[in-house]
């Protein structure tokens, strides 16, 4: 299998929405039936015959831009508006209130219409046209102005304020508090929600745009199958059917149109093959431990009785644990009282108590060393990925020169680009294989996993080494590099398919509980 195809199959699913127009949204239209029908395998491919064979570690997803999100939102509003017989702006408020669960909204609306309308702040008739008027003898309760030609506005609730105050109130809510769907009438104690038509009438263009951006934001935030791409300044949202409860069995990596691969489950950067729960545990552990663990390993021992970590910062070998008051010898870890009168000079290496204590010590050390083994490799791949990228950036410059001097075409130097991408991607995967391995309990599958890990690692290091060659050598290495790139990608696919299949089948055993 050609490695380039592997890359493309992930991307293909987000290409189709460009020409598909409406169709990708259809997954949403049966939103509610989906809840009933879902049997936990919702992430299985449904359109195998359209796309090239999907890898077992890939999930189906779509990428939507702001206009599409808006269009979809509008369409849902219109549809429900027809059913409920409410104007669209009221329907929008109702849908936001119901977190975009149409079925539930329609049901509760049919059952107790007045109650629902009251709850969202739309008295029973919200259909009166909105307009700005001048009212004789009016005093604005906010600014206390009473000019005769003061423009005023009130919603159906009748709480009338001058337009300037209304505007400033809305601007404050939208700009500073980031509110949109839940802005209430400024009237004291009034629970009526400001609908978008009233808002359109009152605010200027910039606020208007911001308001609708915030509304769209809440739309995506409220829907379980939609998530924003977490990349800085990215405007796309991802639609993916993987549910929170599936996350024990699958690692749903998605690729945004902006090029950022991330996990749909936890929105962290791609962490295949490790499931979200392990990633969370691992990151927490690293945060707590990694730096200190190295130091602890080098400078401390644990109290043989209570296990507290003790640093010997000078003085004699007679240690008294601050926590449990256990007295022991720093040298042999044995009970101090057994040392008799040979103070300050441990020569009792053969004592049983000391022997046992050293065993326990060794065990504790071993678990620390084990963690550091995995952590250092994890951190190394993270670091190397950065270095590879640096080298690529430098090489890129030189390749541009080479295009001029050695008359190589632009297309001919692209092998470096794909090699660099493969390196980044493989290192990302390798990095997480170490977190995965740390929590893995040994069984028959682990050996295969470790072999796969080793193969990928060797392939990556081979390719990485070539990157360090000087520029004039690089041109001659093109074929070799292309081979190695494709080999790396193949090894990555093999590793991820193996881990994903067994994760789905529940064949991995972890030495922690995944919660």
């Amino acid at each position: 299998m050609d490695s380039d195809d592997d890359m493309r199959s992930v991307q293909s699913s987000d290409d189709d929405f460009m020409d598909g127009g409406d169709s990708p949204f259809s997954v949403d239209d049966d939103d509610d039936s989906d809840i009933d029908l879902d049997d936990g395998i919702g992430f299985e491919a449904q359109d195998k015959d359209i796309y090239p064979a999907k890898k077992s570690y890939e999930v189906d997803f779509d990428v939507f831009g702001p206009e599409q999100i808006q269009a979809h939102q509008d369409r849902q509003v219109e549809e429900v508006s027809n059913i409920l017989g409410q104007p669209t702006e009221s329907t929008a408020i109702l849908l936001r209130y119901a977190k975009w669960n149409k079925e539930r909204l329609i049901e509760s609306y049919m059952d107790r219409q007045d109650e629902v309308l009251e709850a969202v702040g739309l008295g029973s008739d919200a259909n009166v046209p909105r307009k700005i008027t001048k009212v004789k003898g009016f005093i604005c309760d906010i600014c206390c102005e009473d000019d005769a030609d003061l423009d005023t506005f009130a919603m159906k609730c009748g709480h009338r304020f001058c337009v300037d105050c209304y505007k400033q109130y809305l601007s404050q809510k939208i700009k500073e508090e980031g509110e949109a769907a839940r802005i209430k009438c400024p009237g004291d104690g009034c629970n009526r929600t400001v609908d978008s038509k009233s808002l359109d009438l009152l605010v200027g263009h910039d606020l208007h745009a911001r308001y609708h951006e915030l509304l769209t934001r809440t739309y995506v935030d409220d829907k379980d199958n939609l998530k924003w791409c977490p990349a800085p300044n990215c405007v796309y949202a991802i639609d993916c059917k993987v549910k929170a409860r599936d996350l024990m069995r699958i690692v749903p990596t998605v690729l945004c149109k902006c090029g950022h691969p991330f996990c749909f489950g936890c929105t962290l950067a791609d962490h295949q093959p490790a499931p979200c729960a392990l990633v969370k545990k691992w990151l927490k552990k690293c945060e707590d431990d990694s730096e200190t663990a190295n130091w602890i390993s080098a400078n401390t021992k644990e109290c043989p009785k209570c296990g507290s970590t003790i640093e010997k910062n000078g003085g004699c070998n007679h240690m008294t644990c601050r926590k449990c008051r256990h007295e022991f010898c720093w040298m042999c870890m044995g009970i101090w009282s057994e040392h008799g009168t040979s103070w300050y000079n441990c020569n009792r290496f053969e004592e049983k108590s000391g022997h046992d204590a050293r065993d326990a010590q060794a065990k504790s050390r071993q678990s620390l060393e084990r963690y550091l083994h995995y952590y250092n490799r994890y951190a190394n791949h993270e670091q190397s990925a950065k270095l590879d990228k640096d080298i690529y950036l430098k090489t890129e410059k030189k390749m541009t020169q080479l295009q001029v001097t050695a008359s190589m075409s632009w297309i001919e130097v692209q092998f470096l680009e794909s090699a660099s991408q493969a390196l980044q991607q493989c290192r990302q995967t390798l990095k997480w294989t170490y977190a995965f391995a740390y929590y893995l309990a040994r069984n028959n599958q682990t050996e295969i996993f470790e072999d796969n890990q080793k193969d990928l690692e060797m392939a990556v290091e081979n390719l990485s080494e070539m990157f360090e060659k000087s520029v004039d050598q690089l041109a001659g290495l093109k074929v070799d590099m292309l081979d190695k790139t494709s080999y790396c990608n193949r090894r990555r696919v093999i590793l991820l398919e193996h881990t994903a299949n067994d994760l789905k089948a529940g064949n991995w055993e972890f030495n922690v509980t995944l919660t």
Partner: protein, 155 residues
């Protein structure tokens, strides 16, 4: 712009007919945004006999943002932070509950009502709130002691 006229009006109303047990004035005559309030501990409360100094700060966006109220006199109360700020943050003083037509008078009355009846379910000092709920006697004793010690109560 809109704020100034409103503040002047409110200040006029409050100084000409001040609410029960309160004296209000500007800290600095040239700045209408910082008010000083002397509040007597209500008769029926554990703070009775004490006089508490409060400072009310009006943000520049007032009345679109709520005023900030702080006890300058130390007070033993679940809804007043027990630090050098003495800040209160509940009910209409929170920006999501504040509505622009709300008046300073209402804020001051709310503060006074809280002296009569603390709101332990929305407390800043959870320890004091816990004590207020489970050991009222002990709470009252400390509150009275503090009132004597810091708020010049005679009895």
């Amino acid at each position: 712009m809109s704020g100034k006229k409103r503040i002047v009006k409110e200040l006029g109303e409050i100084t000409s007919s001040p609410p029960d047990g309160m004296r209000v004035r500007l800290v600095d005559e040239s700045d209408v945004h910082i008010w000083e309030i002397f509040m007597d501990g209500p008769e029926q409360s554990v703070y009775s006999g004490g006089t508490f100094r409060l400072v009310l700060t009006l943000p520049k966006d007032y009345p679109f943002k709520p005023p900030i109220l702080a006890f300058q006199t130390k007070i033993y109360h679940p809804n007043v932070s027990n630090d050098d700020k003495g800040s209160m943050c509940l009910g209409m003083l929170r920006s999501d509950e504040w509505k622009p037509p709300n008046k300073i008078l209402a804020v001051l009355n709310m503060a006074r009502n809280l002296l009569v009846e603390p709101n332990p379910d929305d407390a800043v000092e959870t320890g004091i709130a816990e004590q207020y709920k489970s050991n009222r006697k002990e709470f009252e004793k400390t509150a009275k002691d503090w009132t004597k010690k810091y708020a010049n109560a005679k009895k």
